[in-house]
């Protein structure tokens, strides 16, 4: 097992609320200059879960699997929900009136660049919990992961990644490198929106899905897939850096909007080659965390 400082991590409560779907008030325009009205972004999506394909949903635009929550309160309080929640953290439905009260889910993605500068924390729930969930229900996340470090790989920055995921991931070590299972490696020229965003703990990178060569490279991706973005640094902000890599999880689906696409929430980054990818089609949160439902 790769050594970490997990015994020194604080575990704190964060409160959020299940969102309404984010639907634009009028048609926008896709890269093909046709009108666009999409669905599947935020709220409760009953029939898409981690493990399901990203492409192919009718009128689907930036589809988020399962349920999506955002922070409540002022911007600082919302910031805590967005920045401190980590992939693999447990989230519990709370509130006296909530039918699904007491049911647990798992944080599987974080997505930004929503209208009104909103942000979604994507949460996987079992089928019966999703059926009981209502828009507006409160969820409390046991946030655990900020400050996580690999003791022997100080050049690797860990972002939004829980110890639970680190331990389930099957990370290896060889020749002084951290060996990281990923479903796919994506070159930097396909990577778009996300550049310039900060902090990398919130929000996401996008793999652009308009150019036919980009689409064919990623058309078999699934929600929850772990991917590596080449020449992409997500240390203190997000940007292009030759030789760097960012490893993240697919947290939302493709879109026709230019420069946008499949969302990738950052988990690990380094700039000096400390991480080596091991391509493994099983590198998906559904498998790694044993999440039910989906294909």
């Amino acid at each position: 097992m790769v050594k970490t400082n997990k015994d020194k991590l604080l575990e704190v409560a964060l409160i959020g609320e299940i969102t309404h779907p984010a639907v634009a008030p009028s048609y926008t325009t896709g890269w093909d200059e046709k009108p666009l009205l999409g669905l599947g972004r935020g709220g409760i999506v009953y029939n898409v879960k981690v493990g399901d394909p990203c492409f192919g949903w009718a009128w689907g635009e930036k589809v988020e699997p399962g349920a999506s929550a955002d922070g409540v309160g002022n911007d600082r309080e919302k910031g805590a929900f967005r920045n401190l929640s980590c992939i693999g953290n447990m989230a519990r439905v709370v509130g006296e009136k909530a039918r699904a009260r007491g049911k647990w889910g798992t944080v599987v993605g974080k997505v930004g660049y929503l209208p009104g500068r909103n942000h979604h924390v994507v949460i996987h729930f079992e089928e019966e919990t999703l059926d009981e969930l209502t828009i507006g229900d409160k969820v409390q996340v046991k946030a655990h992961g900020v400050g996580l470090k690999f003791t022997d790989y100080t050049g690797v920055r860990v972002i939004s990644c829980s110890p639970r995921l680190v331990e389930a991931w099957g990370l290896g070590e060889s020749g002084g490198k951290l060996i990281v299972p990923v479903a796919k490696v994506v070159p930097a020229h396909f990577v778009g929106q996300g550049a310039g965003g900060s902090p990398p703990e919130a929000s996401n990178w996008d793999i652009q899905t308009q150019s036919p060569d980009a689409v064919s490279h990623v058309e078999d991706l699934r929600f929850g897939d772990i991917v590596m973005l080449e020449d992409i640094l997500s240390a203190w902000g997000r940007g292009y850096y030759e030789g760097a890599v960012t490893v993240g999880v697919v947290s939302c689906g493709p879109t026709k909007a230019l420069g946008q696409g499949i969302g990738v929430t950052s988990l690990l980054t380094c700039k000096e080659g400390e991480i080596t990818a091991k391509v493994d089609p099983g590198a998906n949160l559904k498998v790694l965390l044993g999440l039910g439902g989906g294909d």
């Binding site: 890269w31 660049y113 900060s198 996008d206 308009q210």
Partner: protein
């Protein structure tokens, strides 16, 4: 000289107000170091179109000349100024000590807003809060025979000064540099409109800055962005070509760098470029005699 539909363009008044620079706290650079930046917003007495993008002390996203902002809506990017003003349009100061003085619209920065060039004697008399009105003309501009090429934020005056030639059925536009598309960063994917948003040539990686010769870039430079499509939004498209104007300076923040207003873009292969170190709006629009 290319022919256009300039006789059919509407000319509209849009208005903005000189805004104060904004400053809150240190922000983390790409390498984790804190920075208190200067150069966005307000009146810059010693920075003009044609000056270098790099090298200004504590400068980040430096904006040449005077920065104004539309005020008729709460979000500046939704104001008429942001959507309709085009590079090369005539600006007039309409309040304060410099009332009546003329300038030129030089670009739009989504992060801070719209930029206007004024002569030195006018700049000395300007005050934060003064109003500027612009005769906006350029939205809807098309090049005859090349209607597939999307024209954006480009006045007929700028289009005619770009030195465009026609060769083998393609438009050939002089540019100072070709920039690989994978360097395009902040602003990419932001919304599905082209007019209100610039996007940045990333200067996060010092190796990339050197490798692609970015350190010589100047404000106002016309550049080519390879494999970038800017028709409604901004993004990667293999084989596409975008020509744009550098409207703000370099940055130490991850994913940021000199900002580009796309002015010509197509994925259909009829837009070509050639290198010319003098391809700069300061010369094209008569804002200075030499770089």
């Amino acid at each position: 000289m290319v022919e256009s539909n300039k006789d059919k363009l509407l000319k509209i008044a849009v208005q903005g107000e000189i805004v104060s620079p904004a400053s809150t706290t240190y922000r983390a650079q790409w390498d984790g170091q804190p920075k208190l930046s200067v150069g966005m917003g307000g009146i810059k007495y010693n920075l003009k179109v044609g000056d270098p993008c790099f090298g200004w002390a504590s400068g980040d996203h430096v904006e040449p000349g005077v920065t104004i902002r539309g005020k008729e809506k709460p979000v500046p990017s939704q104001c008429a100024l942001a959507l309709l003003a085009c590079i090369g349009n005539e600006a007039t100061v309409i309040s304060g000590e410099a009332k009546g003085d003329k300038g030129v619209f030089t670009g739009r920065h989504a992060g801070s807003d719209d930029m206007v060039w004024f002569p030195d004697e006018t700049i000395e008399n300007l005050v934060i809060g003064d109003k500027v009105q612009i005769k906006a003309i350029g939205v809807g501009l098309k090049i005859k025979g090349y209607e597939d090429i999307r024209v954006n934020k480009c006045s007929p005056r700028l289009l005619e000064s770009l030195g465009i030639e026609v060769k083998d059925g393609k438009l050939v536009v002089p540019v100072v540099k070709e920039v690989p598309g994978f360097l395009m960063g902040s602003g990419i994917g932001w919304g599905t409109m082209l007019e209100p948003v610039d996007y940045d040539i990333q200067t996060t990686d010092p190796k990339a800055v050197e490798k692609y010769g970015l350190e010589t870039l100047r404000l106002g430079d016309v550049v080519c962005l390879k494999d970038q499509l800017c028709i409604n939004g901004r993004g990667y498209y293999r084989g596409a070509t975008t020509v744009g104007v550098i409207i703000h300076g370099a940055s130490d923040y991850a994913g940021h760098g000199p900002g580009v207003n796309p002015i010509l873009s197509t994925k259909d292969g009829r837009l070509d470029t050639k290198i010319d170190p003098d391809a700069n709006t300061a010369l094209y629009l008569g804002l200075r005699d030499k770089l």
